[in-house]
């Protein structure tokens, strides 16, 4: 694969950071955007813009079509059965909040259990905490092992007759562990427990097939998939999309509005109140086209190669401690360097144009478990090459130099 050619499609890499070429190892946080996505947004605002679904004039018709075509593209990309299963939200966080609120209000009661894991991002814990508070429910945390994974048994042993939903990440955004989602879904479906998958790290780096995964809900963060900010996606199986109550109220999602009562339209409209992120959704159609132009299989293969090289390279440095050692790892490596705080690492890296993330990565529970307040994280995108890893390796050495002499 011609990574230089792919990289050249991302305008950001033409810029210098502190006088150095940008080396971007922060894609798990948010990916950069290829030119076709940026251009699509420009074109939409310059030639096609109108509010969608509400007006009869030509601009509105075109805009509506472009918007709904994106829904079809997403449906196809994730292999959903129905377009009603594809709901646009503002980010993955909102997608999970929507489920926690709509599902939680309807189906979770006092004493009921919500099963999550110690790996979860705050986005897949805080919304459940709200329901815990409101309903007097209980949150159980499936334990993370020393490899930084949650294995199926850790989940199995927490399932009870009170378990109302299982909410798990697809790939840990700290340890990179790929969760056995399919197995968890099989286990859960024996007891008819719905499964929500936080797919923020899964969707950009794995083949995403709703029929194969079989989960009930899947949350996607488009800005991590080479897409614009301001868009997320909730996949909700039709059986849930049909019966869950709406989440936000406003224009577009109604059926009939009377002074004493209101009826609602069906999914996805029911869940999409107000003016949507029209330009962003339309822009995202180009992200999917970009991904498909390379092929997700090729992306996976490329990232795997770089990931392995990275693990090998940085483990050679004795001062480095890589966090977790999952059997299956997504495009993420978190680490610490002996005696150097992750924030100092990030600052020193930045001096060389190398962007990584330092902190708890919205996973305080996991960091507490590991007994560290923070870690440094390098994460990959399609534009990364072995050169970037070599730069990472030198930068780590530089940290040691700055701190130890």
């Amino acid at each position: 694969m011609d990574i230089e050619n792919i990289k050249s499609q991302f305008p950001i890499f033409k810029n210098k950071i502190n006088g150095k070429p940008l080396i971007y190892l922060d894609s798990a946080n948010s990916s950069q955007k290829p030119k076709n996505v940026i251009d699509r947004i420009t074109k939409f605002y310059s030639k096609e813009f109108s509010n969608i679904g509400r007006s009869v004039h030509s601009l509105a018709v075109t805009a509506t079509n472009r918007f709904e075509e994106t829904r079809d593209l997403v449906k196809k990309y994730i292999n959903a059965k129905f377009r009603e299963e594809v709901i646009f939200t503002k980010n993955a966080t909102e997608a999970i909040n929507l489920v926690a609120s709509s599902f939680g209000e309807k189906f979770i009661n006092k004493g009921d259990e919500i099963l999550i894991t110690e790996l979860e991002h705050h986005a897949n814990y805080v919304p459940w905490h709200f329901i815990r508070q409101k309903k007097g429910a209980i949150i159980k945390f499936a334990e993370c092992n020393e490899r930084g994974e949650v294995d199926i048994d850790a989940i199995k042993k927490l399932i009870t007759n009170k378990t109302k939903i299982i909410a798990i990440t697809h790939i840990s955004n700290v340890t990179g562990a790929i969760m056995p989602v399919k197995k968890i879904v099989d286990l859960a479906s024996e007891k008819e427990i719905p499964v929500l998958v936080d797919g923020c790290q899964g969707a950009p780096h794995l083949e995403i097939d709703m029929q194969k995964l079989g989960c009930d809900f899947y949350a996607i963060s488009c800005h991590k998939m080479y897409g614009p900010t301001g868009v997320g996606i909730l996949f909700a199986k039709k059986k849930w999309a049909d019966i869950l109550p709406p989440y936000q109220g406003g224009g577009g999602m109604i059926g009939e509005v009377k002074k004493n009562d209101i009826t609602f339209s069906d999914s996805p409209t029911k869940f999409e109140a107000g003016t949507l992120q029209t330009a962003e959704v339309v822009g995202f159609s180009e992200s999917l086209k970009f991904i498909e132009s390379i092929g997700i299989k090729n992306i996976i293969e490329h990232e795997k190669k770089i990931l392995e090289y990275a693990l090998e390279t940085i483990k050679k440095n004795n001062s480095v401690n890589v966090i977790g050692d999952p059997k299956k790892r997504g495009s993420i490596i978190s680490f610490t360097i002996k005696g150097i705080h992750p924030h100092d690492i990030a600052t020193i890296f930045d001096e060389d144009g190398l962007a990584i993330r330092a902190g708890h990565h919205c996973c305080q529970i996991l960091h507490e478990k590991m007994g560290i307040p923070a870690s440094a994280r390098a994460s990959l995108g399609i534009y990364n090459s072995k050169d970037d890893i070599d730069a990472l390796s030198s930068a780590i050495k530089k940290c040691n130099k700055v701190f130890n002499n």
Binding site: R54, V61, N65, G255, E256
Partner: protein, 154 residues
């Protein structure tokens, strides 16, 4: 192409003076249709006999010229015909709206074909297709004994 392609004489005539716009006597089945985006509403009343022949059909409602004309033309076309034949006619009608093709349905007279074809201009106006089909879907719903309101946003 001219806006007159959409608002043909026949359409305007049916839009302004819709036929069978009333609650027909002795109806035994009915259904409501609603387009929440624009507010078009129809209520179709049906007298279906045991052999599934449409003995009488009428409608009430409010909406744009296209939706009223379409409902009116539908009642005229379907009255006296078998439900199965009516469904075939609807298929041809939908195909016409989608492809802009001509209609020549064997079971209809030439005049009836022309009357139906007066709505073919809708093809060029995608946002108006729902206006032209609402009454028809509602009719099918009524005949099949559905209870919920037909919602074009489904």
């Amino acid at each position: 192409m001219d806006i007159k392609e959409l608002y043909k004489e026949i359409v305007l005539d049916h839009g302004k003076n819709p036929r069978n716009k009333k609650k027909c006597k002795d109806f035994n089945q009915d259904a409501k249709g609603h387009n929440p985006l624009c507010g078009d509403k129809v209520h179709v009343f049906l007298k279906l006999n045991q052999d599934k022949k449409v003995e009488d059909i009428s409608f009430e409602g409010e909406g744009c010229a296209i939706s009223m004309a379409s409902a009116s033309i539908m009642t005229e076309t379907i009255k006296g015909r078998d439900f199965n034949v009516a469904k075939k006619i609807l298929e041809h009608f939908l195909h016409m709206l989608k492809e802009g093709s001509k209609l020549s349905i064997n079971s209809l007279s030439e005049e009836e074909n022309i009357r139906m074809m007066s709505l073919s201009g809708v093809k060029r106006f995608p946002m108006r297709v729902k206006c032209a089909t609402l009454a028809w879907h509602t009719f099918v719903h009524a005949a099949e004994g559905g209870n919920e309101t037909v919602n074009t946003e489904k």
